[in-house]
């Protein structure tokens, strides 16, 4: 067994063990930070863990038993996505796994007859439509950037993308911006009325999670933590290369991006989901498309 394989297995195992905890802690930090931005004291940084603990201790009201299976599949597929990513396999496979997982969240919502839940599922699919092109462009961008740095031999392998001579961000600034834009959707932050926003009181009640309670809701929340860790991993991948300084750079970038997401969430309180869906493709075409064109014709 060579060293890189061991490293890949270790990072995948670390993700399973710590991926959820890391994002749970970040979520607590995010709530504290948001409260301070609004001039409030805010809850404890461990609040997300208290919430999850409570959800698992409560009675689970489910209209059908299928809900548990679907919620569990969502959690497992999200964890699988992260494991594939941190094991350094093909990024296309990772993004496909992510889309499959996202479908299970829609299934969970449509498994009940609640109007809020069903409308939440439809809105969730609209959002997927909005962010999915940018996700694919990100994968293509990584391939082309790797190709430029390796004399025309591109690669979708995360191991190759992360071990170039220079960080991919140098060739992919536009794609990075576009990816940041869709991160607000994927982090379930802004706008306030997306299908399962963390903000209370929207016209869809809680969107896709309206009819989930107790243990089932807890699993969805834990899945979101794992998903966030994976997404921050993709942010980090933009900054990784085969130099030692790229690792602290990636960590700093991840933290800055998370702070930015909290900040954007706080200053765009009145943005509605329609605007977001319209903007998402515009940003994808302008930032992602232009970046790809430049890579294709200039380098």
């Amino acid at each position: 067994m060579n060293d890189t394989l061991i490293l890949r297995i270790i990072s995948a195992v670390l993700y399973i063990l710590l991926g959820g905890l890391f994002s749970g802690f970040l979520a607590g930090l995010d709530r504290k930070l948001a409260a301070r931005m609004q001039g409030r004291r805010g809850p404890s940084v461990f609040q997300p863990f208290y919430d999850i603990g409570k959800l698992f201790s409560k009675e689970t009201l489910a209209l059908n038993h299928g809900q548990f299976v679907i919620a569990f599949s969502f959690l497992m597929l999200i964890v699988a996505t992260g494991v594939l990513f941190f094991a350094g396999v093909d990024i296309l496979l990772v993004f496909l796994a992510l889309s499959t997982a996202a479908m299970f969240l829609v299934f969970a919502a449509t498994s009940s007859n609640s109007a809020m839940s069903t409308m939440g599922a439809q809105r969730e699919m609209m959002q997927m439509l909005a962010y999915e092109p940018m996700v694919l462009i990100t994968a293509v961008g990584f391939y082309m950037a790797t190709g430029i740095m390796n004399n025309g031999v591109g690669s979708f392998k995360i191991m190759d993308i992360g071990s170039n001579d220079l960080p991919a961000i140098i060739y992919l600034p536009g794609i990075f911006l576009g990816f940041l834009f869709i991160l607000t959707i994927k982090f379930r932050k802004s706008p306030f009325d997306i299908s399962t926003s963390h903000h209370a009181h929207q016209e869809l009640v809680k969107g896709v999670t309206t009819d989930l309670s107790g243990r089932n809701l807890g699993m969805i929340e834990v899945a979101h933590w794992y998903e966030n860790t994976f997404l921050l991993g993709v942010v980090g991948l933009f900054f990784l290369c085969n130099e030692w300084w790229s690792i602290p750079l990636a960590v700093v970038a991840v933290l800055v991006v998370y702070f930015l997401e909290t900040f954007i969430d706080n200053i765009s309180a009145r943005v509605k989901w329609e605007l977001m869906v319209k903007l998402a493709w515009g940003v994808t075409i302008v930032c992602g498309g232009l970046n790809l064109l430049v890579l294709e014709y200039i380098f």
Partner: protein
């Protein structure tokens, strides 16, 4: 088992209130009172809620609604009646359409009188309800254990 009192999620329902108490309930969420520091979230979804906060009296129209919301909440749960109308009907007590306080429809755990109830009183009531919630969680846990042993 995690303590439920550290993460009480709240459902607010306006029975037939004049909105005086409702505004005070919302005031609790503002930076001045900031109930989120206790981990309280105003969910607006009965299936996620632990505390049912009702303002205004009960009439024939909303009795079924209050009952249904209560039934949709997973155990353990507590009910807080906010404002004198929710406690016993208040000034509307003798009106032909008012049945009375929230306890005419569902069991109430904590009464917060006042017209309108002040945010301090509401927070006090909710914190008191947390004590009841803690007791209920223990009872729920014991019942669950009992059920498991009987199987």
């Amino acid at each position: 088992m995690a303590k439920i009192t550290k993460s009480p999620w709240l459902l607010h329902y306006d029975g037939s209130s004049c909105n005086g108490c409702d505004i005070e309930v919302l005031a609790c969420l503002t930076p001045v009172y900031d109930v989120e520091r206790f981990g309280i979230i105003n969910t607006g979804n009965p299936k996620h809620a632990d505390i049912f906060l009702v303002t205004g009296g009960i009439n024939e129209k909303n009795k079924a609604v209050v009952k249904q919301l209560y039934d949709q909440m997973p155990e353990p749960k507590v009910v807080v009646a906010v404002g004198i109308c929710a406690c016993n009907g208040g000034v509307f007590k003798d009106a032909y359409n008012i049945i009375g306080g929230v306890d005419k429809a569902i069991p109430v755990d904590v009464y917060v009188p006042g017209c309108a109830a002040r945010p301090e009183a509401i927070i006090d009531g909710v914190v008191k309800a947390l004590g009841v919630l803690d007791e209920k969680q223990k009872a729920f846990k014991a019942a669950k254990k009992q059920k498991g042993e009987n199987k």
